[in-house]
Protein backbone atom coordinates (compact mmCIF):
# COMPACT_ATOMS: atom_id res chain seq x y z
CA UNK A 1 0.00 0.00 0.00
CA UNK A 2 2.61 2.55 1.10
CA UNK A 3 4.94 1.32 -1.61
CA UNK A 4 2.32 1.85 -4.32
CA UNK A 5 1.55 5.30 -2.99
CA UNK A 6 5.16 6.50 -2.88
CA UNK A 7 5.94 5.08 -6.32
CA UNK A 8 2.91 6.84 -7.79
CA UNK A 9 3.79 10.15 -6.12
CA UNK A 10 7.48 9.98 -6.95
CA UNK A 11 6.87 9.16 -10.59
CA UNK A 12 4.44 12.08 -10.81
CA UNK A 13 7.31 14.23 -9.50
CA UNK A 14 9.69 12.57 -11.97
CA UNK A 15 7.53 13.61 -14.94
CA UNK A 16 7.75 17.18 -13.71
CA UNK A 17 11.50 16.99 -13.18
CA UNK A 18 12.05 15.58 -16.67
CA UNK A 19 10.11 18.57 -18.04
CA UNK A 20 12.10 21.09 -16.03
CA UNK A 21 15.64 19.93 -16.73
CA UNK A 22 17.35 21.50 -19.73
CA UNK A 23 16.51 19.96 -23.06
CA UNK A 24 18.46 16.84 -23.89
CA UNK A 25 19.65 17.42 -27.45
CA UNK A 26 19.35 14.06 -29.13
CA UNK A 27 19.47 15.24 -32.72
CA UNK A 28 20.15 18.89 -33.27
CA UNK A 29 17.16 20.76 -34.62
CA UNK A 30 14.53 18.46 -33.18
CA UNK A 31 12.93 20.01 -30.12
CA UNK A 32 12.81 17.32 -27.49
CA UNK A 33 11.73 17.82 -23.93
CA UNK A 34 11.85 14.75 -21.78
CA UNK A 35 8.35 15.22 -20.35
CA UNK A 36 6.61 12.65 -22.55
CA UNK A 37 9.48 10.29 -21.77
CA UNK A 38 8.32 10.50 -18.17
CA UNK A 39 4.77 9.59 -19.24
CA UNK A 40 6.03 6.51 -21.13
CA UNK A 41 8.23 5.43 -18.20
CA UNK A 42 5.32 5.74 -15.75
CA UNK A 43 3.47 3.12 -17.76
CA UNK A 44 6.33 0.75 -18.54
CA UNK A 45 7.83 0.81 -15.03
CA UNK A 46 4.76 1.14 -12.78
CA UNK A 47 2.30 -0.84 -14.90
CA UNK A 48 -1.09 0.17 -16.30
CA UNK A 49 -3.07 1.08 -13.19
CA UNK A 50 -0.34 2.71 -11.10
CA UNK A 51 1.10 4.46 -14.16
CA UNK A 52 -2.33 5.87 -14.97
CA UNK A 53 -2.76 7.16 -11.39
CA UNK A 54 0.72 8.72 -11.33
CA UNK A 55 0.04 10.65 -14.53
CA UNK A 56 -3.45 11.69 -13.35
CA UNK A 57 -1.83 13.07 -10.19
CA UNK A 58 0.70 14.98 -12.28
CA UNK A 59 -1.92 16.43 -14.65
CA UNK A 60 -4.28 17.40 -11.80
CA UNK A 61 -1.50 19.25 -9.96
CA UNK A 62 -0.42 21.05 -13.13
CA UNK A 63 -4.03 22.09 -13.73
CA UNK A 64 -4.33 23.25 -10.13
CA UNK A 65 -1.61 25.80 -10.79
CA UNK A 66 1.76 24.20 -10.06
CA UNK A 67 4.35 25.02 -12.74
CA UNK A 68 5.08 21.35 -13.47
CA UNK A 69 4.85 21.24 -17.26
CA UNK A 70 7.91 21.67 -19.48
CA UNK A 71 9.21 25.20 -19.35
CA UNK A 72 7.55 25.82 -15.98
CA UNK A 73 4.02 26.08 -17.38
CA UNK A 74 0.88 25.13 -15.51
CA UNK A 75 -2.61 26.29 -14.65
CA UNK A 76 -6.08 25.66 -15.96
CA UNK A 77 -5.28 27.65 -19.15
CA UNK A 78 -3.52 24.60 -20.56
CA UNK A 79 -6.84 22.78 -20.70
CA UNK A 80 -8.35 25.30 -23.08
CA UNK A 81 -5.18 25.75 -25.16
CA UNK A 82 -3.87 23.83 -28.18
CA UNK A 83 -2.14 21.15 -26.12
CA UNK A 84 -5.23 20.27 -24.03
CA UNK A 85 -5.80 17.02 -25.91
CA UNK A 86 -2.28 15.84 -25.14
CA UNK A 87 -2.70 16.57 -21.43
CA UNK A 88 -5.97 14.64 -21.28
CA UNK A 89 -4.37 11.81 -23.25
CA UNK A 90 -1.29 11.55 -21.00
CA UNK A 91 -2.85 9.20 -18.40
CA UNK A 92 -4.32 6.93 -21.09
CA UNK A 93 -0.97 6.82 -22.87
CA UNK A 94 0.68 5.60 -19.66
CA UNK A 95 -2.13 3.09 -19.09
CA UNK A 96 -1.75 1.51 -22.53
CA UNK A 97 2.07 1.48 -22.30
CA UNK A 98 1.80 -0.29 -18.95
CA UNK A 99 -0.79 -2.75 -20.20
CA UNK A 100 1.48 -3.85 -23.05
CA UNK A 101 4.41 -4.49 -20.68
CA UNK A 102 2.17 -6.38 -18.23
CA UNK A 103 0.45 -8.59 -20.78
CA UNK A 104 3.04 -9.19 -23.51
CA UNK A 105 5.48 -11.60 -21.87
CA UNK A 106 8.51 -11.08 -24.10
CA UNK A 107 11.83 -9.47 -23.13
CA UNK A 108 10.92 -6.42 -21.08
CA UNK A 109 12.82 -4.04 -23.37
CA UNK A 110 10.90 -5.21 -26.42
CA UNK A 111 7.56 -4.97 -24.63
CA UNK A 112 8.46 -1.51 -23.31
CA UNK A 113 9.35 -0.29 -26.81
CA UNK A 114 6.06 -1.58 -28.22
CA UNK A 115 4.14 -0.17 -25.25
CA UNK A 116 5.79 3.24 -25.54
CA UNK A 117 4.92 3.44 -29.23
CA UNK A 118 1.36 2.22 -28.82
CA UNK A 119 0.65 4.32 -25.71
CA UNK A 120 3.01 7.28 -25.98
CA UNK A 121 2.53 7.83 -29.70
CA UNK A 122 -0.63 6.14 -31.10
CA UNK A 123 -2.92 6.73 -28.11
CA UNK A 124 -1.42 10.10 -27.22
CA UNK A 125 -1.72 11.49 -30.75
CA UNK A 126 -5.29 10.15 -30.95
CA UNK A 127 -6.11 12.52 -28.07
CA UNK A 128 -3.74 15.35 -28.98
CA UNK A 129 -4.58 15.86 -32.64
CA UNK A 130 -8.36 16.35 -32.19
CA UNK A 131 -7.60 18.72 -29.29
CA UNK A 132 -5.29 20.77 -31.47
CA UNK A 133 -7.83 20.77 -34.33
CA UNK A 134 -10.52 22.10 -31.97
CA UNK A 135 -8.39 24.81 -30.34
CA UNK A 136 -6.83 26.04 -33.58
CA UNK A 137 -9.94 25.73 -35.75
CA UNK A 138 -8.28 23.32 -38.19
CA UNK A 139 -9.42 20.08 -39.76
CA UNK A 140 -8.05 16.78 -38.42
CA UNK A 141 -5.60 16.17 -41.32
CA UNK A 142 -4.25 19.71 -40.94
CA UNK A 143 -3.75 19.24 -37.20
CA UNK A 144 -2.07 15.88 -37.84
CA UNK A 145 0.37 17.66 -40.12
CA UNK A 146 1.23 20.06 -37.28
CA UNK A 147 1.98 17.09 -35.01
CA UNK A 148 4.38 15.29 -37.38
CA UNK A 149 7.57 17.24 -36.48
CA UNK A 150 7.35 15.69 -33.01
CA UNK A 151 7.15 12.15 -34.31
CA UNK A 152 10.93 11.74 -34.66
CA UNK A 153 11.53 12.90 -31.10
CA UNK A 154 8.81 10.62 -29.77
CA UNK A 155 10.27 7.60 -31.56
CA UNK A 156 13.64 8.34 -29.96
CA UNK A 157 11.93 8.66 -26.59
CA UNK A 158 10.23 5.29 -27.10
CA UNK A 159 13.65 3.75 -27.75
CA UNK A 160 15.05 5.42 -24.61
CA UNK A 161 12.06 4.14 -22.62
CA UNK A 162 12.88 0.62 -23.77
CA UNK A 163 16.57 0.98 -22.83
CA UNK A 164 15.85 2.42 -19.41
CA UNK A 165 13.08 -0.06 -18.59
CA UNK A 166 15.34 -2.95 -19.58
CA UNK A 167 18.12 -1.56 -17.41
CA UNK A 168 15.77 -1.24 -14.43
CA UNK A 169 14.71 -4.86 -14.92
CA UNK A 170 18.35 -5.77 -14.38
CA UNK A 171 19.37 -3.27 -11.69
CA UNK A 172 16.18 -3.15 -9.60
CA UNK A 173 13.98 -6.10 -10.60
CA UNK A 174 11.80 -5.61 -7.51
CA UNK A 175 11.02 -2.03 -8.50
CA UNK A 176 9.68 -2.95 -11.93
CA UNK A 177 6.11 -3.04 -10.68
CA UNK A 178 4.70 -3.67 -14.18
CA UNK A 179 6.28 -7.15 -14.12
CA UNK A 180 6.06 -7.77 -10.37
Amino acid sequence: MERNLTHIALFAALIAVLGLIPKIDLISGVPVTAQSLGIMLCGTVLGAKRGFLAVVLFVVLAAAGLPLLSGGRGGIGLFVGPSAGYLIGFPFAAFVAGLVVERWQVRVGVAAFAGAILGGIVVLYAFGIPGMALALGKSLPEAALLATPFLVGDLIKAALTALVTQAIAQARPNSLLSRA
Binding site: A9, L10, A16, V17, L20, V80, G81, L136
Partner: protein
Protein backbone atom coordinates in the same frame (compact mmCIF):
# COMPACT_ATOMS: atom_id res chain seq x y z
CA UNK B 1 7.99 25.30 -4.80
CA UNK B 2 6.50 28.46 -6.24
CA UNK B 3 2.97 28.25 -7.57
CA UNK B 4 1.59 30.31 -10.43
CA UNK B 5 -0.68 32.30 -8.10
CA UNK B 6 0.08 36.00 -8.41
CA UNK B 7 1.48 37.66 -5.28
CA UNK B 8 -0.38 40.82 -6.32
CA UNK B 9 -3.72 40.67 -4.50
CA UNK B 10 -6.70 41.56 -6.69
CA UNK B 11 -10.46 41.65 -6.15
CA UNK B 12 -10.65 38.28 -7.93
CA UNK B 13 -8.66 36.61 -5.13
CA UNK B 14 -11.76 37.08 -2.94
CA UNK B 15 -14.10 35.25 -5.31
CA UNK B 16 -14.73 31.56 -4.48
CA UNK B 17 -12.70 29.09 -6.57
CA UNK B 18 -15.73 27.12 -7.81
CA UNK B 19 -17.41 30.34 -9.02
CA UNK B 20 -14.34 31.23 -11.06
CA UNK B 21 -13.98 27.72 -12.49
CA UNK B 22 -17.69 27.51 -13.40
CA UNK B 23 -17.49 30.91 -15.11
CA UNK B 24 -14.45 29.74 -17.02
CA UNK B 25 -16.30 26.64 -18.27
CA UNK B 26 -19.25 28.70 -19.53
CA UNK B 27 -16.89 31.26 -21.05
CA UNK B 28 -14.91 28.64 -22.99
CA UNK B 29 -18.06 26.97 -24.34
CA UNK B 30 -19.57 30.34 -25.29
CA UNK B 31 -16.40 31.42 -27.12
CA UNK B 32 -16.77 28.56 -29.59
CA UNK B 33 -20.22 29.86 -30.57
CA UNK B 34 -19.60 33.58 -31.04
CA UNK B 35 -18.12 35.46 -33.95
CA UNK B 36 -17.49 38.93 -35.35
CA UNK B 37 -18.17 41.85 -33.02
CA UNK B 38 -19.02 39.57 -30.07
CA UNK B 39 -15.66 37.86 -30.33
CA UNK B 40 -13.89 41.21 -30.40
CA UNK B 41 -15.92 42.18 -27.34
CA UNK B 42 -14.79 39.01 -25.55
CA UNK B 43 -11.14 39.83 -26.20
CA UNK B 44 -11.60 43.39 -24.91
CA UNK B 45 -13.42 42.05 -21.83
CA UNK B 46 -10.55 39.70 -20.97
CA UNK B 47 -8.04 42.52 -21.43
CA UNK B 48 -10.08 44.79 -19.12
CA UNK B 49 -10.34 42.04 -16.51
CA UNK B 50 -6.59 41.42 -16.58
CA UNK B 51 -5.86 45.16 -16.47
CA UNK B 52 -8.15 45.58 -13.44
CA UNK B 53 -5.49 43.82 -11.38
CA UNK B 54 -3.02 46.66 -11.88
CA UNK B 55 0.13 47.07 -13.94
CA UNK B 56 2.29 44.40 -12.26
CA UNK B 57 -0.51 41.83 -12.46
CA UNK B 58 -1.11 42.67 -16.12
CA UNK B 59 2.58 42.21 -16.97
CA UNK B 60 2.59 38.77 -15.26
CA UNK B 61 -0.59 37.86 -17.12
CA UNK B 62 0.98 38.79 -20.47
CA UNK B 63 4.08 36.74 -19.65
CA UNK B 64 1.89 33.68 -19.02
CA UNK B 65 0.48 33.94 -22.56
CA UNK B 66 3.97 33.63 -24.03
CA UNK B 67 3.80 29.84 -24.68
CA UNK B 68 1.05 30.55 -27.25
CA UNK B 69 3.41 32.45 -29.58
CA UNK B 70 4.61 29.46 -31.63
CA UNK B 71 1.01 28.46 -32.29
CA UNK B 72 0.10 32.02 -33.28
CA UNK B 73 2.99 32.19 -35.74
CA UNK B 74 2.08 28.83 -37.29
CA UNK B 75 -1.59 29.82 -37.68
CA UNK B 76 -0.79 33.18 -39.28
CA UNK B 77 1.75 31.68 -41.70
CA UNK B 78 -0.68 28.92 -42.56
CA UNK B 79 -3.52 31.35 -43.33
CA UNK B 80 -1.23 33.57 -45.39
CA UNK B 81 -0.18 30.51 -47.35
CA UNK B 82 -3.87 29.60 -47.90
CA UNK B 83 -4.43 33.15 -49.18
CA UNK B 84 -6.88 34.10 -46.43
CA UNK B 85 -4.80 35.90 -43.79
CA UNK B 86 -7.84 37.48 -42.12
CA UNK B 87 -9.19 34.03 -41.20
CA UNK B 88 -6.39 33.80 -38.61
CA UNK B 89 -8.04 36.46 -36.44
CA UNK B 90 -11.07 34.54 -35.08
CA UNK B 91 -8.89 31.49 -34.34
CA UNK B 92 -6.34 33.55 -32.42
CA UNK B 93 -8.99 35.65 -30.69
CA UNK B 94 -10.81 32.55 -29.40
CA UNK B 95 -7.56 30.97 -28.25
CA UNK B 96 -6.33 34.15 -26.56
CA UNK B 97 -9.64 34.87 -24.83
CA UNK B 98 -10.00 31.30 -23.54
CA UNK B 99 -6.41 30.87 -22.34
CA UNK B 100 -6.31 34.46 -21.07
CA UNK B 101 -9.26 34.04 -18.73
CA UNK B 102 -8.07 30.60 -17.62
CA UNK B 103 -4.64 32.00 -16.72
CA UNK B 104 -6.31 34.81 -14.81
CA UNK B 105 -8.23 32.20 -12.78
CA UNK B 106 -4.99 30.34 -12.02
CA UNK B 107 -3.27 33.59 -11.03
CA UNK B 108 -6.00 34.62 -8.60
CA UNK B 109 -6.68 31.28 -6.89
CA UNK B 110 -4.50 29.85 -4.13
CA UNK B 111 -3.29 26.28 -4.60
CA UNK B 112 -4.68 25.32 -1.17
CA UNK B 113 -8.13 26.48 -2.27
CA UNK B 114 -8.06 24.36 -5.42
CA UNK B 115 -6.78 21.31 -3.52
CA UNK B 116 -9.60 21.77 -0.99
CA UNK B 117 -12.12 21.95 -3.85
CA UNK B 118 -10.64 18.82 -5.45
CA UNK B 119 -10.81 16.95 -2.15
CA UNK B 120 -14.49 17.90 -1.84
CA UNK B 121 -15.29 16.87 -5.42
CA UNK B 122 -13.50 13.52 -5.08
CA UNK B 123 -15.16 12.66 -1.74
CA UNK B 124 -17.85 10.48 -3.43
CA UNK B 125 -14.96 8.35 -4.75
CA UNK B 126 -14.40 7.10 -1.17
CA UNK B 127 -17.15 4.56 -1.89
CA UNK B 128 -14.96 3.13 -4.65
CA UNK B 129 -12.18 2.69 -2.12
CA UNK B 130 -10.20 5.88 -2.70
CA UNK B 131 -9.19 7.27 0.66
CA UNK B 132 -9.33 11.09 0.54
CA UNK B 133 -6.43 11.25 3.02
CA UNK B 134 -4.29 9.32 0.53
CA UNK B 135 -4.96 11.97 -2.12
CA UNK B 136 -3.79 14.74 0.20
CA UNK B 137 -0.68 12.78 1.16
CA UNK B 138 0.28 12.10 -2.44
CA UNK B 139 -0.13 15.78 -3.35
CA UNK B 140 2.21 16.69 -0.50
CA UNK B 141 4.72 14.03 -1.60
CA UNK B 142 4.81 15.34 -5.19
CA UNK B 143 5.26 18.95 -4.11
CA UNK B 144 8.06 17.96 -1.73
CA UNK B 145 9.82 15.65 -4.16
CA UNK B 146 10.08 17.86 -7.22
CA UNK B 147 12.82 20.06 -5.67
CA UNK B 148 14.51 17.03 -4.05
CA UNK B 149 14.72 15.23 -7.38
CA UNK B 150 15.91 18.35 -9.22
CA UNK B 151 18.71 18.62 -6.69
CA UNK B 152 19.54 14.92 -7.10
CA UNK B 153 19.66 15.43 -10.87
CA UNK B 154 22.07 18.37 -10.49
CA UNK B 155 24.34 16.27 -8.25
CA UNK B 156 24.45 13.44 -10.78
CA UNK B 157 25.26 15.89 -13.61
CA UNK B 158 28.10 17.35 -11.52
CA UNK B 159 29.43 13.88 -10.75
CA UNK B 160 29.39 13.06 -14.47
CA UNK B 161 31.14 16.32 -15.40
CA UNK B 162 33.83 15.71 -12.82
CA UNK B 163 34.72 12.43 -14.53
CA UNK B 164 34.14 13.10 -18.22
CA UNK B 165 34.80 15.91 -20.69
CA UNK B 166 31.62 15.00 -22.60
CA UNK B 167 28.13 16.31 -21.93
CA UNK B 168 25.97 13.92 -19.91
CA UNK B 169 23.08 13.60 -22.42
CA UNK B 170 20.67 10.70 -22.10
CA UNK B 171 23.08 8.55 -20.04
CA UNK B 172 22.05 10.61 -17.03
CA UNK B 173 18.55 9.10 -17.14
CA UNK B 174 19.43 5.77 -15.59
CA UNK B 175 20.99 7.02 -12.33
CA UNK B 176 18.25 9.65 -11.95
CA UNK B 177 15.59 6.99 -12.31
CA UNK B 178 17.32 4.53 -9.98
CA UNK B 179 17.63 7.28 -7.36
CA UNK B 180 13.90 7.96 -7.71
CA UNK B 181 13.02 4.29 -7.30
CA UNK B 182 15.25 3.94 -4.23
CA UNK B 183 13.77 7.10 -2.72
CA UNK B 184 10.27 5.72 -3.29
CA UNK B 185 11.18 2.55 -1.39
CA UNK B 186 12.72 4.48 1.49
CA UNK B 187 9.78 6.86 1.82
CA UNK B 188 7.41 3.87 1.80
CA UNK B 189 9.39 2.33 4.67
CA UNK B 190 9.36 5.61 6.57
CA UNK B 191 5.58 5.91 6.11
CA UNK B 192 5.00 2.38 7.34
CA UNK B 193 7.25 3.00 10.35
CA UNK B 194 5.03 5.95 11.26
CA UNK B 195 1.72 4.12 11.17
CA UNK B 196 1.05 3.75 7.45
CA UNK B 197 -0.73 5.85 4.86
CA UNK B 198 -4.31 4.73 5.40
Amino acid sequence: MLTLTSPVKTWAHEVRAWVKLATLCLWTVALLRVDGIWLAGAVVLVLILAASGGRVFFAQWLAMLRPLWPFAVVIVLWQVWLGAPMAAWPILARLGAAVGLANAVTMTTELAEIIALLTRITRPLARLGLNPKVFGLSVALVIRFVPVMLQRYDQIVLAFRARSPRRPGWRILMPVLLAALDDADRVAEALRARGGAG
